[in-house]
């Protein structure tokens, strides 16, 4: 695409307090092509969680950034990521969604690889020359694989900064989720594998949008009142903040209306749970002090890790990632994250609370899907060229129902799409400047 076109996709007018995004970014296949190269191949992208691979030999296959990956815990206990294609002629060496194995054998010609990716078996190897090198023909890996607190990320940019640097200000909020249990956190069995007939960036915006709750999720709020939540609390504007965390990462942190299985009681949990949740809270106070414990248990967070990982620590914790298939269609995977050492009762309560709001059968997510698909259909009206994301632009500390956190995403997106090198795009003062 022409540089001039790219330059004009986002209008960031700080003087006037106006922020506009051109709607072609949601519909133009050329934009998606460029996003694949400049966003998904230039960033760290989430691939999975080490808790999904508890035992040596455990593996799972997953599509990530358009690739077909194998995530495996090798015999030595190390978690590895392999590109799922035989180095011989290309067939996938693993066609199961998950399991436990000692080897990956391609069924096409039976080349066999161990869980480290080493080529350990080639039928009729005597037919090859002396230059045939098994070591060279091991299963490939993404150029970079790093794990932060059990979250496995891959990058297709060999020179990208270390993951922990990339996470920038998002790190402390991810820590706030991971610190909820001394035993660590785990992904619960059961994937909400769904989709949306809408552009992937609409789901980014929606996942960190505090403004739409009162309208889009009206029925959920009414449900909360049915379960005994004080209607006055539901009616009041919620306190909360929106934040840019650097590198395009962003957050809203709010006062929750629902209860939280990590120690914020609500009538739906039943009277018997009150003391137990208070005890969990007290333990967190001992570990982290009153202020951090309060933030951990009494506030909710919607965290975006640029470009496409959402960790929403709300009425339960969801880890959600999604990839575009076309400008108007995405595949979404969402999981529940929970303390490993949670009691069976609290686990059940957590999963129940999760389903009140989240997922394709919840009382909220289907309406989000409807809203975003409706936006995508609305974009057919090309005469209306721009979307407005200016809310709260002149506030010193934007609120959770402002749109600073979305602007943070868009500014990074726009910098990368224009071809600004990542190190410049994510300079530390970019955080301070954002409003």
């Amino acid at each position: 695409m022409e540089q001039e076109t790219l330059e004009n996709l986002v209008r960031d007018n700080r003087n006037a307090g106006l922020f506009r995004v051109h709607r072609s970014v949601f519909t133009d296949p050329r934009i998606l092509d460029l996003e694949r190269r400049r966003i998904f191949e230039q960033c760290w992208v989430y691939a999975g969680h080490t808790s999904e691979l508890p035992q040596p030999g455990d593996f799972l296959t997953r599509r990530v950034a358009g690739r077909s990956l194998i995530l495996v815990r090798s015999a030595d206990g190390v978690v590895r990521v392999l590109l799922n294609t035989c180095t011989h002629r290309g067939a996938q060496v693993c066609r199961e969604s998950c399991g436990n194995t000692k080897t990956f054998q391609c069924f096409y010609h039976a080349w066999t690889f161990d869980t480290d990716g080493r080529l350990i078996g080639v039928p009729g190897e005597d037919a090859y020359s002396a230059a045939f090198d098994r070591e060279e023909l091991r299963l490939a890996s993404p150029p970079r694989v790093e794990i932060y607190r059990d979250f496995i990320f891959v990058s297709f940019a060999p020179a990208i900064e270390p993951l922990v640097t990339y996470l920038a200000g998002a790190k402390e909020y991810l820590d706030l989720v991971c610190d909820q249990s001394e035993a660590g956190m785990e992904i619960v069995t059961g994937t909400q594998a769904y989709s949306m007939r809408a552009n992937w960036k609409l789901l980014v915006e929606n996942s960190i949008d505090g403004y739409h709750a009162r309208t889009t999720h009206q029925r959920y709020l009414e449900f909360l009142v049915e379960t005994g939540v004080d209607p006055e609390r539901v009616r009041r504007r919620r306190r909360g903040i929106g934040k840019a965390l650097g590198n395009g990462h962003a957050l809203i942190q709010t006062e929750p209306l629902s209860g939280r299985p990590i120690a914020q009681w609500t009538p739906m949990f039943g009277e018997a749970k009150r003391a137990e949740l208070e005890a969990i809270h007290q333990k967190l106070v001992e570990r982290f002090g009153a202020e951090l414990a309060h933030q951990m248990t009494q506030t909710s967070r919607n965290l975006l890790i640029f470009p496409n990982l959402i960790v929403n620590d709300i009425m339960a914790i969801t880890v959600r990632t999604f990839f575009p298939i076309s400008p108007d269609y995405i595949e979404i995977n969402a999981w529940a994250l929970a303390p490993r050492d949670e009691s069976a009762d609290n686990r059940a309560l957590r999963l129940d609370n999760f389903l009140t709001f989240l997922g394709p059968g919840g009382f909220a997510t289907p309406d989000d899907v409807e809203a975003l698909e409706s936006c995508q259909r609305g974009f057919a009206n090309r005469e209306v060229g721009w979307s407005d994301i200016s809310r709260g632009m002149e506030r010193a500390q934007p609120m959770a129902d402002d749109e600073l956190q979305m602007r943070a995403f868009w500014r990074q997106w726009h910098a990368l799409m224009r071809g600004v090198p990542r190190a410049v795009a994510s300079a530390p003062d970019a955080v301070a400047l954002q409003r």
């Binding site: 969604s97 619960v188 069995t189 059961g190 994937t191 909400q192 594998a193 769904y194 989709s195 949306m196 007939r197 889009t216 009206q218 029925r219 009414e222 449900f223 049915e226 269609y329 595949e331 999981w335 529940a336 069976a344 686990r347 059940a348 999963l351 129940d352 999760f354 389903l355 009140t356 997922g359 394709p360 059968g361 009382f363 997510t365 289907p366 309406d367 899907v369 409807e370 809203a371 698909e373 259909r377």
Partner: protein
């Protein structure tokens, strides 16, 4: 009333008739009448597509409603703010391969195959799977105590959601 006095032979024809009536109520959005088919301790579940045999206390589901949640779901669907179903979808349910798995006193375990078509915004989404029912006979009438829709789909793609009663 002793249990034995209400036990009578359960035939597949009777079960089929019941399931067809249920499907007709759901397709017609006569959801309050559908609610009347449920017992006061009824459950409605849809497991995640990669954990079809799961238990909702230990694995993440798509839907795991108790009776209060079911009633709330129905009220929401009949109200205006369930945007995903306002305007409402058209649905058409085909129920077949009905089998009675066990009869124990007044309790009947049934399985049946389903194809549910959902039509909305000129898209057709096809949900394919199998129901597991626990039916109970109360005062001669059949009631639904447990209703689990197990999808054969590998993912809700391109459906995106289960905003109807499946």
């Amino acid at each position: 009333m002793g249990a034995t006095s209400t036990v009578r032979e359960t035939t597949r024809a009777e079960i089929e008739e019941f399931l067809y009536e249920e499907a007709a109520l759901l397709d017609a959005w006569r959801l309050r009448e559908w609610l009347a088919l449920l017992t006061d301790d009824a459950t409605y579940e849809i497991p995640s597509t990669d954990a079809p045999d799961g238990d909702s206390r230990t694995s993440l589901f798509i839907v795991a409603d108790n009776i209060e949640r079911i009633r709330s779901r129905v009220n929401q669907l009949l109200g205006k703010a369930a945007w995903a179903e306002n305007p409402p979808s058209r649905t058409r349910r085909l129920i077949s391969n009905v089998r009675i798995l066990a009869v124990d006193g007044n309790t009947i375990r049934v399985t049946a195959n389903f194809v549910v078509y959902r039509m909305r915004v000129e898209q057709v989404d096809t949900y394919v799977g199998r129901y597991e029912y626990t039916l109970v006979r109360r005062d001669g009438a059949l009631r639904i105590q447990r209703r689990r829709a197990i999808l054969d789909l590998e993912a809700l793609r391109p459906h995106g959601k289960v905003s109807i009663l499946l």
